[in-house]
């Protein structure tokens, strides 16, 4: 089996991370923003796993376990917030959230 060069993984993860970051900045639906956040987290996970594989040590892979669990906990909190917001105002558009102002 051919081994895939390290740089492929790095480029892919960099592209994923950038797409995620752009998504968080330009999208206005919190659910899509969540997905973009997940993309950022998983870009980092991919980098960890790729380096871990290249170095032959398991540290990076263990890191990924923690990241997955932490990301799930984070998303649970975020989704709960969205449900709470939706129940009070029946819309979750970030741009309509402008009651906090001077």
């Amino acid at each position: 089996m051919n081994t895939i060069p390290m740089s492929y993984y790095l480029v892919l993860s960099a592209v994923m991370f950038t797409l995620g970051a752009i998504g968080v900045i330009i999208r206005r639906n919190p659910l899509v923003m969540f997905m973009s956040l997940e993309l950022m987290f998983n870009a980092a996970n991919l980098t960890f796993v790729a380096f871990s594989n290249a170095f032959g040590n398991a540290n990076g892979q263990i890191f990924v376990f923690f990241v997955m669990v932490v990301a799930a906990a984070e998303v649970a909190v975020g989704l709960a917030l969205i449900v709470a917001i939706f129940r009070t105002r029946h819309s979750i558009d970030i741009d309509l959230m402008n009651t906090l102002k001077n």
């Binding site: 376990f65 997955m68 799930a72 989704l79």
Partner: protein, 118 residues
């Protein structure tokens, strides 16, 4: 390298071809006797009544969230369950403590009524 791309190409052709042939053959061979009953949208079971875009109960999301948390914790339990006999007593106790903490969370969610559907 090129040979493996060739395999992918062959698989692609076969996997596209098979359903295409099946659909075209069915179109040619099948007898056509349309009736109003046959041309309604296919759905499993009985016809739907009323609006399909109903709002789910908030409870639905609550249970979904609780499931999400407990589901993802198995990521730690799986490697522990595979290797705990080689890890020694301390690691076993650690895993049990982890499950204990999860149980605490479960008790909290239960007592707060997160699983009550009514």
């Amino acid at each position: 390298m090129t040979i493996s791309w060739l395999y992918i190409g062959i698989f692609l052709v076969v996997s596209l071809g098979l359903p295409a042939v099946a659909i075209i053959l069915a179109g040619i061979l099948a007898p056509k006797k349309p009736s109003p009953e046959k041309s309604i949208i296919y759905e499993c079971g009985v016809d739907t009544h009323g609006e399909t875009w109903v709002q789910f109960k908030a409870q639905y999301y609550l249970i979904g969230l609780v499931f999400l948390i407990f589901d993802i914790e198995t990521v730690f339990l799986y490697p522990w369950a595979v290797a705990f006999d080689r890890l020694g007593l301390f690691a076993v106790l650690e895993g049990l403590l982890f499950i204990g903490i999860l149980t605490g969370g479960l008790v909290y969610a239960w007592k707060k009524g997160a699983f009550e559907w009514a």
